[in-house]
C-alpha cells in the first residue's frame, strides 16, 4: 500500500499540497501476507488463507501471538499520527497477528476485502450497528431474529437516539412499508431461528439500493459455505463464530466482513466498545476454520438425509428444512443456496411439547443444549429456550407450534443419527399416554 506522502514529501514541505495529491488508497487487509487465495475454492481457502508461518523458527502454522502490546518504532508513531493505526501492530485491542491471520481466512471465505473478529457474536453485532447508524437513525429488522440481537435493538438503541421497526424477514411489501425518512439500515438473518425462513437477499439488496440504505446480514445459520451474502450485494455480513465457524462448541467469537471502507468505520467502534478477540481464541478459531468446508459438507448432507427421514416418519407432523420441496421457500433456497441448504432442521413431533421433551430424553447422540454448529448434534426446544420470553399465544402467532424441536445436525455418521432418532421417536410414540401425564 502506498504511503500518504510517497514521492511528494518535497511538495508537502513547500506547502504545495492538497488532498488530491495524497497517495494512500484503501487496500485489503490488514495483512502480513502477499497471497489472499481468492482464486481458490472453499476447502483450499479454509486450509491455507491467512496462515502466518513463523519466519524465525520455520514453524508451520500461525503462532499464538499471546501479547497485549508491541514494540513501538518509527512506523508505528507515523501510523498513529496519520490515523492509520489499523495497519500497524501497536496494541492487541487495535490489532494482533493472531487476529489478522484469522481475519484474512474469513475474508477469503466471505469474498471480502476486510474482516474483524470480536469477542462474541453480540460484540460484532452491537459494534457494527452502532458504527453504521447515525444519531436519529432508524433500522429495520425482523421479530424472529436471535434473542440477543432483539434485546440490543429493542432495549438499547433508543439510548443512542436511534429507533427500530420489526417486520417479516421475507415480505418485501411489509419491509418497504416500514422504511422511514430516517431509515439507514436493513438488518436480517439469512436463515431465521427456529423456523428456518430464508431472507430473499437479492430482493432486499435491491430494496436497499432503491432507498439509499445499507444492508447487513447475520449469516450465522448458513455460513459463507452455504451462501456468500457479499457476492449478492450485501454491504456487511456478520457471524457468531461460536457456531459453525468455530464448530466445536468450545469458543465464543464473532465476525464482520465487507469492504475495507465499511470495516474501517466499524474498527474504531470496536476499539471503543472493547470487544476485541483474545489471541488464544483467534488461534482456536483459525485452527477450526481449517476444517470448515469439510465440516459444512457433512453438516449439510447429514441434515438433508435426516430431514428426509423425519418428513417420512408418521410421528413427525412437520419438518422445516430449506432443502425439502415442502419448505415454503424451497425455490428461493435452490437459487440462493445452490443446493447446499443448511445444517439446521426444525420439526414438530406429534403429541406436542410433552413428547418433544420425551424425545430429547430418549435420544442418545444429540446433546440437549442451546447453541448450534458444533461437530456434535445439538437439540433444544425453542419454546423454553430461544423464544422463552414470549407467551404461548405470542409463540403461536410467530409459528412456534406445540412440539417444535430445533436440531443442529452434527457430523456424526448419518446411519447412527437416523437410527438414534428412529429408536427415540418410536419409544416416545409408544409411551405417549404415560409421558403426557408426567408433564
Amino acid at each position: 500500500m502506498k504511503k500518504i506522502y510517497q514521492d511528494i514529501e518535497h511538495k508537502r514541505a513547500e506547502g504545495d499540497i492538497w488532498f488530491k495529491d495524497l497517495k494512500r488508497k484503501r487496500d485489503t487487509g490488514p495483512t502480513l501476507n502477499d497471497h489472499r487465495y481468492s482464486e481458490y475454492n472453499a476447502s483450499t481457502k479454509s486450509v491455507h488463507a491467512g496462515q502466518y508461518d513463523d519466519p524465525k523458527t520455520g514453524a508451520l502454522g500461525t503462532p499464538i501471538y499471546q501479547c497485549s502490546t508491541f514494540y513501538l518504532n518509527k512506523n508505528s508513531y507515523e501510523a498513529i499520527e496519520e490515523g492509520r493505526g489499523r495497519d500497524e501492530l501497536i496494541y492487541t485491542r487495535y490489532g494482533n497477528p493472531s487476529q489478522w491471520s484469522v481475519q484474512e481466512k474469513l475474508s477469503a471465505l466471505e469474498n471480502a476485502e476486510s474482516s474483524i473478529v470480536f469477542s462474541s457474536g453480540m460484540a460484532a453485532i452491537s459494534s457494527t450497528i452502532l458504527a453504521m447508524l447515525d444519531k436519529g437513525s432508524h433500522i429495520i429488522s425482523s421479530r424472529d431474529i436471535y434473542g440477543g440481537t432483539y434485546n440490543f435493538l429493542y432495549e438499547d438503541l433508543d439510548r443512542y437516539g436511534m429507533s427500530i421497526s420489526f417486520t417479516s424477514p421475507s415480505n418485501l411489501n411489509e419491509i418497504e412499508a416500514a422504511i422511514k425518512e430516517n431509515t439507514k439500515v436493513l438488518f436480517f438473518e439469512a436463515l431465521s431461528n427456529p423456523l428456518l425462513k430464508l431472507v430473499p437477499i437479492k430482493a432486499i439488496v435491491a430494496l436497499g439500493k432503491k432507498h439509499n440504505l445499507r444492508v447487513i446480514i447475520d449469516n450465522t445459520f448458513l455460513t459463507p459455505y452455504n451462501v456468500k451474502p457479499l457476492d449478492l450485494g450485501v454491504d456487511l455480513v456478520l457471524n457468531s463464530a461460536s457456531k459453525y465457524l468455530g464448530g466445536h462448541s468450545d469458543l465464543i467469537a464473532g465476525t464482520v466482513s465487507g469492504s475495507r471502507k465499511l470495516i474501517d468505520r466499524i474498527w474504531p467502534q470496536m476499539l471503543k466498545n472493547g470487544g476485541s478477540l483474545d489471541p488464544h481464541a483467534c488461534f482456536l478459531l483459525e485452527r477450526s476454520l481449517k476444517t470448515f468446508a469439510l465440516r459444512m459438507r457433512t453438516h449439510n448432507s447429514n441434515a438433508m438425509a435426516l430431514a428426509t427421514y423425519l418428513e417420512n416418519h408418521s410421528g413427525i407432523r412437520k419438518v422445516y428444512y430449506p432443502g425439502l420441496p415442502s419448505h415454503e421457500q424451497h425455490e428461493l433456497a435452490m437459487e440462493q443456496l445452490n443446493g447446499k441448504n443448511s445444517g439446521m432442521i426444525s420439526f414438530e413431533i406429534e403429541g406436542g411439547d410433552p413428547n418433544a421433551h420425551a424425545l430429547l430424553d430418549h435420544l442418545k447422540l444429540p446433546k440437549e443444549a442451546t447453541s448450534l454448529g458444533g461437530v456434535e448434534s445439538l437439540i433444544s426446544l425453542p419454546y423454553n429456550t430461544s423464544q422463552a420470553s414470549l407467551t404461548k399465544k405470542q409463540q403461536k402467532a410467530i409459528g412456534i407450534n406445540d412440539g417444535l424441536v430445533r436440531l443442529s445436525v452434527g457430523i456424526e455418521d448419518i446411519e447412527d443419527l437416523i437410527s438414534d432418532f428412529d429408536q427415540a421417536i418410536n419409544k416416545v410414540l409408544k409411551n405417549t399416554d404415560t409421558y403426557v401425564e408426567q408433564y
Binding site: I4, D134, G136
Partner: protein, 178 residues
C-alpha cells in the same frame, strides 16, 4: 492523530473519488418552519453521499434581536450565514494544515461585515441588500511559518465550499406551494 484529523482517511477518500466520482456527490438540505414573530426552527434534512443516506438529526432556532423586532432567543440569519462560512473555512484550513504536517495549537476566525438595511426596508432602492463585503481574520498559533499560513488561506479561498458559494454566483431556483 495530528490535529485529531485522520489524514489517512482523507487520502483514502480522495483516491476513492478519483476512481468513483459519484462518491464526491453530497446532497444537503434544510427545512425551516416559522414559529412566531421572527423566530423559526431549522431542521437538517438527510444527506446523500454517493449512493448512501446519512441521517442528519439536528435542529436549531433562528431569531432576531429585540431591536430588529425579535425576542433575541437565538442567533439571527446573518450570524448563521457567517458562522457556516467560518466553520467551513476552519475545517478546510485545519485539514490542509494537517496535510502539510503543521500542528495547530489555536485557530480563531473572525468574520465581520456591515449590512445596509435600507435595502431590506426598501427605503433606498440603490443600496445593495446583501453584504457588500466581508472581512475575515485568521488568528493562528502552531508550528507553521507565516508563509505556510498564507498559503493555507489561499487554499481555503479556493477549496472551501461555503466560501465559494458566497464568492461565486449561485442559481437560486424558487417555487411556491400554497
Amino acid at each position: 492523530m495530528l490535529n485529531n484529523i485522520n489524514i489517512a482517511g482523507l487520502s483514502e477518500y480522495a483516491n476513492e473519488v478519483k476512481e468513483t466520482p459519484k462518491e464526491a456527490q453530497a446532497t444537503y438540505g434544510v427545512e425551516l418552519e416559522w414559529i412566531s414573530g421572527t423566530k423559526s426552527t431549522v431542521k437538517t434534512k438527510n444527506m446523500v453521499l454517493g449512493d448512501h443516506k446519512l441521517v442528519r438529526d439536528f435542529e436549531f432556532t433562528i431569531d432576531e434581536p429585540t431591536q430588529l423586532l425579535g425576542v433575541n432567543a437565538a442567533p439571527n440569519p446573518a450570524e448563521y450565514m457567517l458562522g457556516g462560512l467560518a466553520g467551513c473555512m476552519a475545517v478546510t484550513f485545519m485539514a490542509g494544515a494537517t496535510a502539510m504536517h503543521i500542528e495547530i495549537d489555536q485557530l480563531k476566525l473572525e468574520l465581520d461585515g456591515t449590512l445596509d438595511l435600507n435595502g431590506f426596508l426598501g427605503t433606498d432602492s440603490n443600496k445593495n441588500t446583501g453584504f457588500p463585503e466581508l472581512k475575515f481574520i485568521f488568528h493562528v498559533k502552531g508550528n507553521g511559518t507565516e508563509a505556510q499560513y498564507q498559503k493555507l488561506i489561499e487554499r481555503v479561498s479556493k477549496h472551501s465550499p461555503n466560501f465559494n458559494t458566497i464568492k461565486n454566483e449561485v442559481r437560486l431556483i424558487g417555487s411556491l406551494n400554497s
